[in-house]
Symmetry: C2
Subunit: 272 residues, 2 copies
């Protein structure tokens, strides 16, 4: 692991690090905020959206203030493998910056686009070996494509995360052009993508952990997010809330506005 | 005035607008956060540092949360004129992105580099004619070169701002390579720059308003900031505090950490 930068932030340290990942076969960069706290620190994963790197949420989402207050670390992974020899596409929503948090099985993507394994295995092992983090106290959130990632990775690794939340998540990608296109490319079939669809996973009883999502009523991508599908899938659950926020859009201005509530939501479970 | 974007943020609106400035002879872009508040709204100016546009602080400094809480607007001007026909320099700290908040008198800068007039006249008139802001309740802050701008514009317009603060300000530019070079270029003489030096203005009794500055002890540019000169100039004043913050550097991670205290400091005077 190589340290790229470390800046003091809210009494803690906002670091940026790089390391080699076996899963992606590339060097990967991530951000990690460590709060001013001794001992084994709970950790919140923040998965970012299309076109983002590890950096966007780290500088725009305002998570550090609340993470410091609650004594929680926040990890900001990149959204795809990058670099020479890594496949890409001219569209912003396929290839580099658009890993969709799945392990691709089709050429030209399969050699490197293995973000599910990267997050759940490689980066996880690195974090818990290099930093004083509490493996037993993890939660996960994300924005847009990263909200899809948070919800689906939580569903696919039962018991690992104590709570899950998302900002403007892609909720039902197997029925959306943010999903069908990518599943078609990465798996060769949209049907394969159904195993990576938060609404279908929730409907099948596989998203059984405390859940909170926020989406703006003025989100310019609402037709692609298909928030209602997730809402229907968790209806009646006391531990799941799919909220709409009046007048907010898809931007980080929206994410920052509700970041305090999301960190507070996870803190209830992480620091209990 | 043209609206470039408006995003709901913390119950208010983060807008970006452009307008023609007579002072600079160019179109200028600025950000304005309007809090969720009716009536005539107090306003805090945030002047940015070298290489920044209107955007950096608007997305990285986390001001909106606190401005919304206190019912204060925040305006984020650009740091220089830009565009075709506007002089520039290959160095990052001269020309576009480096206006230093002065009115240049020397070629090739004098036709457009008139940021003091732009801030104090053109943008001021536009803001108070286009938005429901309270002309009698203004405060000013900024970062680095923008901290220099905040301190010196406050000194040069007595009675206009109720309070002034700064993050890692350039305190004594007429004795620093962040200052001598720019004054030499914009005025043809470093001596002319002495009228735009916060420490000299404070020493001459011309910075008589409530003042708060924060600078990190690990600021990588500390030799250029010359914080001690300002500290000496205000020593003994009950209404002026020049603070050093342990372990912090020059980045927006530092600015964001202390933003809440700075907005709270100004709120005492703006909403009294």
């Amino acid at each position: 692991m190589e340290t790229i930068s470390e800046n003091k932030s809210f009494g803690g340290v906002q670091g940026v690090y790089s390391h080699h990942s076996e899963a992606t076969g590339t060097d990967m960069t991530f951000g990690l905020f460590m709060p001013p706290r001794n001992g084994s620190v709970p950790v919140l994963w923040f998965l970012s959206g299309l076109t983002c790197t590890h950096e966007n949420a780290m500088v725009k989402a305002g998570a550090q203030a609340f993470a410091a207050e609650h004594g929680i670390a926040v990890v900001f992974p990149d959204t795809s493998p990058r670099g020479e020899g890594v496949a890409d596409h001219e569209d912003y929503d396929l290839g580099q910056g658009a890993g969709f948090y799945v392990d691709a099985t089709e050429a030209p993507w399969s050699p490197h686009f293995r973000m599910e394994s990267y997050i759940l295995n490689d980066l996880t092992e690195l974090l818990f070996s290099e930093f004083p983090l509490d493996r037993g106290a993890q939660a996960i959130t994300g924005h847009s494509m990263g909200g899809h990632g948070a919800l689906t990775l939580a569903a696919k690794s039962p018991g690992r995360f104590r709570s899950v939340s998302a900002f403007s998540p892609i909720c039902n990608p197997s029925e959306s052009d943010w999903g069908k296109k990518q599943f078609g490319a990465y798996f060769g079939s949209v049907d394969e993508g159904r195993a990576h669809d938060a609404s279908l996973l929730a409907g099948a009883g596989k998203l059984n952990l405390p859940l909170l999502t926020d989406t703006g009523t003025d989100d310019q991508f609402s037709a692609l997010l298909r928030t209602d599908a997730l809402k229907s899938a968790v209806v009646g659950r006391a531990d799941a809330e799919v909220r709409m926020q009046d007048g907010y859009d898809h931007s980080y201005f929206f994410v920052a506005t509700f970041m305090g509530e999301h960190v507070g939501f996870h803190a209830k479970y992480l620091t209990a």
